[in-house]
């Protein structure tokens, strides 16, 4: 049973013999300039349709959230001087990542913080979407990533409520739109990986806020970065999704954030729902047995 819910090496667990090192993203929001090149590069490579022409007024975010036709989403959060002061947060900008380096400015100069962060599918170690998919359309690749096989998916939609991050969705759109009715999400550019290339978003990112590589190496790099930021006085810098012991067994795509996750629209303590599945099956079994017994009792003394 435990194997259902706890995986150390997801690729091997999915039957991949001598798989390559697990690949992932480290998105460092402290150097994101909010240019949205990741959003466009992703759409260009994956042929994703336009996703709405509405102005949302959420700072410069007119994308809104991840979805079937948005696999990268840059969040913009404006934190006014008042709020920043009140919250006691370190105002942006983030100072140089030299541990202990003494800077002449504390960033409070800018008055406000403008947080930007590029969200993406987390490619969970224990992936709910993958577990609950009844067709095997969702698949764990040899790189440890999770992809939708659009030739298999029948659009049952179960993966959508299963995702603790609200990433995956079923594509809607006028007839003729590609993959309408099928669940869609970031594939970490599976086809490019197979050819030794970098995913489109990471390739485009001007400031390397999006870094792609071997997950182990990325986690080390991220830890150094967060240590450096702390040393430089950015107290609220925190890693998100980097811990293999969290509710999803660690994310394949993790983040460095400068505020609490929920500020960016991320769940503070995500848990893969199937972690509780064995218990749920037991409950169901007892409930079923109760029903059977109840039915039997109902027929005691019953005779025509």
């Amino acid at each position: 049973m435990s194997r259902w819910t706890r995986t150390a090496d997801p690729a091997a667990d999915a039957g991949w013999k001598n798989a390559p090192p697990r690949k992932g993203f480290f998105t460092d929001s402290s150097i994101c300039i909010g240019c949205k090149a990741c959003e466009v590069a992703c759409k260009e490579w994956n042929g994703i349709p336009e996703d709405g022409l509405e102005m949302l007024g959420m700072s410069y975010d007119n994308t809104g959230s991840l979805g079937a036709s948005t696999w990268r989403h840059v969040a913009f959060i404006e934190q006014p001087r008042r709020a920043v002061a009140a919250s006691g947060l370190t105002p942006l900008p983030v100072v140089a990542a030299r541990p202990g380096e003494n800077r002449s400015f504390d960033g409070a100069e800018t008055g406000i913080r403008w947080l930007m962060s590029s969200d993406v599918c987390k490619h969970c170690t224990n992936a709910a979407c993958l577990d609950v998919c009844p067709t095997g359309s969702l698949m764990r690749t040899e790189f440890g990533t999770v992809v939708v096989q659009d030739d298999i998916c029948n659009g049952c939609g179960y993966c959508i409520p299963a995702c603790p991050f609200g990433v995956i969705d079923r594509r809607q759109g006028p007839p003729g739109t590609r993959n309408v009715g099928i669940a869609q999400k970031c594939t970490l550019c599976y086809d490019r990986l197979g050819d030794g290339m970098t995913p489109a978003c990471a390739q485009a990112c001007p400031t390397q806020s999006i870094q792609y590589g071997d997950l182990d190496e990325l986690r080390v790099r991220a830890q150094h970065r967060v240590d450096a930021l702390h040393a430089a006085g950015v107290a609220d810098a925190q890693l998100y999704g980097a811990d293999p012991n969290d509710g999803i067994g660690g994310a394949g795509a993790f983040f460095l954030l400068l505020d609490e996750p929920e500020v960016y629209g991320l769940p503070p303590d995500p848990v893969v729902t199937t972690r509780d599945l064995p218990a749920m099956w037991r409950t169901a079994a007892i409930a079923g047995a109760t029903l059977l017994a109840g039915a039997a009792v109902a027929f005691v003394r019953a005779r025509s």
């Binding site: 049952c156 959508i160 995702c163 629209g265 079994a285 109840g294 109902a298």
Partner: protein, 310 residues
């Protein structure tokens, strides 16, 4: 102005997504449950030789199973690909498990029902009729054997998601659904069966109703914050209606349904309606809990706080 980002959320946007499911799914929850309960009644009636109850229950099981399957397929984004459900067998996917149960249950329930229908035909089919008659009992009994799984797995189907209300209800939901299944099946049988043969159906209906009501109450306690979603809007109205109908139906069945056919039938309809309302209430509550990021963030924050304190 650009709303200041609060601690709670990103512009109040949902964090998890609502299930893309329409009415089909709650309808299926009801139909599947009613079918399962009916198969149990049918098998019992068959073994206890209560032909009228057996007939009504077998047909009810067949109709429920068939309509439920149709609803499931109709809800797919790509209905033509429904057979892909049988590509894999995944114990980690309640939907996969349910599909296989339904795939096994469907033909059995159909076989049993077909025998009844054939028996009602004015002209008797010579060989086919014989074969059907002989296979009817084993098919019905096997269907009944699968029925509890069919009735209870739907609870896991909903709980095994990140939808706050559904996941929070995981300890009770299978019982609520199983009870509701029994109540609805009993109710259906009371509608269609003469008083003499309906006794087991009455008992099952009353028992199921009691289980459903008790477990639903417990469920709301263990749901924590997300229980709010059952106390507002559509979900609230549906859940209140469900309680009233189920309780009323049960009392009606137990007190008046024993002697008065009309009362039995009314009680049966009430129980059926109560079951429908319960499924739709819980479905709607879950969707609502996904729409408001509060139900995702606050419980998770509390959990982290507790972990920190511990």
């Amino acid at each position: 102005m650009v709303p200041p980002a609060t601690f709670a959320s990103y512009y109040g946007r949902p964090i998890v997504k609502t299930a893309p499911w329409e009415r089909d799914i709650p309808a299926y929850l009801f139909l599947g449950g009613m079918a399962a309960g009916s198969s149990l009644l049918a098998a019992g009636a068959d073994l206890r030789n209560l032909p009228e109850l057996r007939r009504v229950a077998r047909i009810g099981a067949f109709v429920g199973g068939a309509a439920g399957t149709a609803a499931l397929i109709h809800d797919l984004g790509r209905p033509m690909r429904f057979l892909n459900m049988l590509r894999t067998a995944k114990p980690t996917s309640p939907m996969s498990v349910g599909t296989w149960v339904l795939a096994a249950y469907g033909p059995l329930a159909s076989a049993a029902a077909t025998a009844e229908i054939a028996a009602m035909m004015p002209r008797r089919l010579p060989i086919a009729g014989r074969v059907l008659a002989l296979s009817a009992r084993p098919a019905g009994v096997l269907a009944a054997a699968l029925a509890p799984a069919l009735a209870a797995y739907t609870g896991v189907l909903l709980s095994d998601t990140a939808t706050p209300a559904w996941h929070a209800a995981r300890r009770e939901l299978p019982f609520v659904f199983a009870g509701s299944a029994a109540a609805s099946a009993g109710g259906l049988a009371m509608v269609g069966t003469c008083l003499e043969q309906a006794a087991p159906a009455r008992r099952m209906a009353v028992g199921g109703a009691v289980v459903a009501l008790v477990m639903e109450a417990r469920m709301e306690r263990s749901m924590g914050l997300s229980a709010e979603t059952l106390h507002a809007g559509t979900a609230k109205r549906l859940m209140n209606a469900s309680r009233a109908l189920t309780a009323g139906g049960a009392i009606g069945a137990a007190v008046f349904g024993v002697r008065n056919r009309r009362a039995a039938q009314v009680s049966g309809v009430a129980l059926l309606a109560g079951s429908v309302c319960a499924r739709f209430a819980i479905f709607e509550a879950g969707q609502q809990s996904a729409r408001d990021p509060r139900y995702t963030v606050v419980p998770q924050r509390d959990r982290l706080q507790r972990a920190a304190n511990a």
